[in-house]
């Protein structure tokens, strides 16, 4: 059917995903993505999502930076339900990036899992192998380059073909596969290695500014729940969670430019809505505007669960407020009181001023979880446009669309 549509010049909203008996998870995800695309106001189809997932295909020809973890701090205090890590990566060369960019990090596989694989197969860890993209020792390939977690059905089939085992159509980690359906000899495993796919990089919004933090350092803000939610199911637990990396660990990353999430001219005002880890790019923005002496006003909306334990980057934000870099700050801590209060409630409370800022040329940025936060916030914005600007639904959407086209509305959501 897919081929037939294509032959008539049909354009897929979403790439085809083939499923088998165990279809539920994949199907749900595919339908969810489809519904999101369909529920968006026009124009989004052509440009599906600003940054839809943290798992992106590893693009060819990217410049990779070799970095060491310089700092790794859990920003949440004792007693919090959250774990959010502020991670600083240091390089020996200048990193070319700007506030609003994202970095892709390739997580390394756990050493104990790699060692188990090596001993199960009996292969010499130093055997050099040329895969589709890299040539390296088996140990290095298994550690830094190849995905060994929750293998795709297609990879499983290739494994069955190479080893001659009868394997049901399921997915599992390579180490379990080797344990249950062993390879006959090391040379067979070399063939298996060539079928493994590259580790998918994870994208994280940059939380630093080269102007403020120097060019050989880049910061990110990583929440553990986000990592686990996606990886427990997709990857098992065989790759390192960034928050667990000790200072001095090696990491490689590349910079992903984001044209739609860029600070406006220095004299322009900026409204930033970034609850939770959504704070990351705005720490970058504020640090940048501070370091460069930008004169535009800055208004930041932040939210989390508890004031005492979850106010990410509190002291830095207080400093921005004290020095006037931050013109306004509105906070929403959802669990500090009986009724849940979120950033959109704070926006609504200051609707008139917010609308005035936008009418006066302010840019609006949203960062953080896509669902439900970014949708609630966007709906809140549309409501504010309607109420404050006396607009109907269509006009409000059009106004938002205009902002988007002018580069004054950006989303960095996941």
């Amino acid at each position: 059917m897919d081929a037939r549509f294509k032959s008539f010049g049909g354009k897929a909203l979403l790439p085809l995903r083939k499923c088998d008996v165990d279809y539920e998870a994949d199907a749900k995800e595919w339908f969810d993505e489809l519904l999101q695309i369909l529920s968006k106001p026009s124009a989004t189809a052509a440009q599906p999502v600003v940054k839809s997932t943290t798992i992106a295909a590893k693009p060819a020809g990217k410049k990779y930076y070799a970095a060491k973890v310089v700092t790794n701090i859990n920003l949440n205090d004792r007693g919090s339900r959250k774990q959010t890590f502020h991670i600083e990566l240091g390089t020996s060369e200048d990193i070319i990036y700007e506030p609003g960019d994202t970095i892709g990090i390739v997580p390394h596989n756990r050493a104990e899992v790699v060692n188990r694989i090596l001993s199960l197969t009996g292969i010499d860890p130093n055997t050099e192998i040329q895969t589709a993209k890299v040539k390296a020792s088996v140990k290095e390939l298994l550690t830094k380059h190849l995905n060994i977690c929750y293998l795709l059905s297609s990879t499983m089939k290739k494994y069955a073909g190479i080893t001659g085992h009868e394997i049901p159509d399921i997915r599992m980690d390579l180490v379990d596969l080797l344990r249950i359906y062993p390879v006959k000899e090391a040379s067979q495993f070399v063939e298996v290695i060539k079928t493994l796919l590259a580790i998918a990089p994870r994208l994280y919004s940059v939380a630093s500014s080269p102007e403020a933090h120097g060019r050989q350092e880049i910061h990110i803000t990583v929440a553990k729940d986000r990592f686990l939610a996606q990886d427990e199911q997709r990857y098992g637990l065989c790759s390192e969670f960034l928050g667990d990396l000790v200072v001095g660990s090696d990491v490689s990353f590349y910079v992903h430019k984001d044209k739609h999430f860029k600070l406006p001219a220095p004299e322009k005002d900026v409204i930033m809505i970034g609850p939770g880890t959504g704070v990351a790019p705005f720490r970058s923005f504020l640090a940048h505007r501070d370091a460069t002496g930008a004169t535009g006003r800055n208004w930041f909306f932040f939210g989390e669960q508890l004031f005492v334990t979850d106010f990410l980057y509190q002291t830095e934000i207080q400093n921005f407020l004290a020095t006037g870099v931050l013109t306004r700050l509105d906070l929403a801590f959802s669990r500090d009181q009986q009724e849940k209060i979120y950033v959109q409630h704070r926006m609504q409370k200051h609707a008139a001023e917010l609308y005035q800022w936008i009418k006066d040329g302010a840019s609006v940025f949203i960062s953080g979880t896509k669902d439900p936060m970014s949708k609630d916030v966007e709906n809140c914005l549309l409501n504010i446009f309607k109420e404050q600007g006396q607009l109907n639904d269509e006009e409000a959407n059009k106004f938002l669309e205009t902002l988007r086209k002018e580069g004054r509305y950006g989303k960095d959501v996941y």
């Binding site: 509190q314 002291t315 207080q318 407020l321 906070l331």
Partner: protein, 557 residues
Amino acid sequence: MSLDKKEQLSPVERIKTSSRGLRGTLTESLTDAHTGSLRDDDQNLLKFHGMYQQDDRDRREERSEKKLEWLYSFMIRLRLPGGFLRADQWLGLHHIAGEYSTGTIKITTRQTVQLHGILKSHIKPTIQSFNTLALDSIAACGDVNRNVTCSAHPGESPVHEEVFTYADRISSMALPKTRAYYEVWLDEEKLAEHTEEDPLYQDRYLPRKFKIGIAIPPNNDVDVLTNDVGLIAIVENGELVGFNIAAGGGLSATHGNPSTYPRLATVLGFVPKGDDTLKAVYEIMTIQRDFGNRSDRKLARLKYTIDRMTVEGLKKELEARCGFKLQEARHYQFTSRRDHYGWKQNHKGLWYYTLFVENGLVRDDEKLPLKTAMYEIAQTGKCNFRFSGNQNLILADISDSDKEAIEDLFEKYGLGLHNQNNSAIRKNSIACVAFNTCPLALAEAQRYLPTLITKIEPILEKYQLKDDEITLRMTGCPNGCGRSPAAEIGLIGTSYGFYNLHIGGDRNGERLNIKYRDSLDESGILSELDQLLGLYASNRKTAETFGDFVIREKLVS
């Protein structure tokens, strides 16, 4: 110091006079959502409302690393003249402590209770809850008259009831007139634009805190001479006739500042009971208001004012302001300063049970479910709660027929033997709060003294001194909240883990101790005490107290 500098008012003076009756920007500070702290000036004003801003000093470093501000919270202290709560008020306090604070109810050395760890957003609900119990924290801290203390035990004197009313009358008389407390915390509408006239405090309040205590001899359980004004009840032929009035007590000092010193109050003379007593107290306050040092807060207490004016000078000014002369001081004698644990009956036949509460901390711990027990006792509604200046609790006004029900609850919670199970020295010890919340603390106090005493007890045992009622007091700094300068053994923190050892105070609170050794660590403290107690055990005269012994032997002078 130049004359100009001397006359320059301390920054706190400006904060007070420009505060519009202690209102400041407290309301705005409460709405600053980005911080758990108050604005600088408001932190000063808050004290007049009975609260201190504090932070968890144990957590500073870790929080800073996490880019979180210090863990700010607030301590609230109630105004409880003479230290009295009804059972229903205790129940309410129990719930408020659980809901908004660390949960621990701390009985203070001034017969009130305080709660720690209240977040900024919980201050208003806390005060509103107290208000429904007819309790407030007005003027429990700050440059005003603090909680008025009064001999705690109604069973010790038939005039107690009458004397106790003076604590209340003085507290009311010396209450600031501003409605700020009601407006800021209880959302009372401001009636007029002008700030209330306050003939006592004016707009500048006192130069420093002011403490008043009332003792009924022969027991000096309130440590009456450590107050700015001390009233000593004079009872003749079974009737209260009036008070000897003493002035100029105060124990705070500053390490390395020789112009600061602890001082016991000087008895000025006798005043008949009634309006004359109140008038004399009031006018000592106005003299301190007008003559106290407002440029250096370390030299601002009444004790320094008196030493500048001389006692005679003060007396003359006081008599001029009162319009009557003080009579010659009447005879009185203190024979003890301790709480008398266990059951005691008063002249009306009501029962009182004094319960040892180590360092005044009412909480449940692995040894004793004290807080739960007190809650259940309060639930019976068969007793009132009184607090002593030694940080203990008196279950009060229990009728003969209700006594058994209370005793059953002692049994249930293992309180029956609690008093006996603690050594004499432990029951005569006091420690201030210090770490982790007191910003002034240089060393530990209430978190450390219990373990130190556990190590001192075998020494006392060794010298057969375990029933000796030696007073031992520890403070984390030289400001003396735990009245360490007025103990037979005083340990005063100098830096973390180190204490100056003071000895030679008398047992009844009429002679201060003297520094004997500088900055001792624990092993230093133990070996010095071992030596001193050994000497005391072998060389003391019959019934001679440790404090008197070390003075007679000239171990300190």
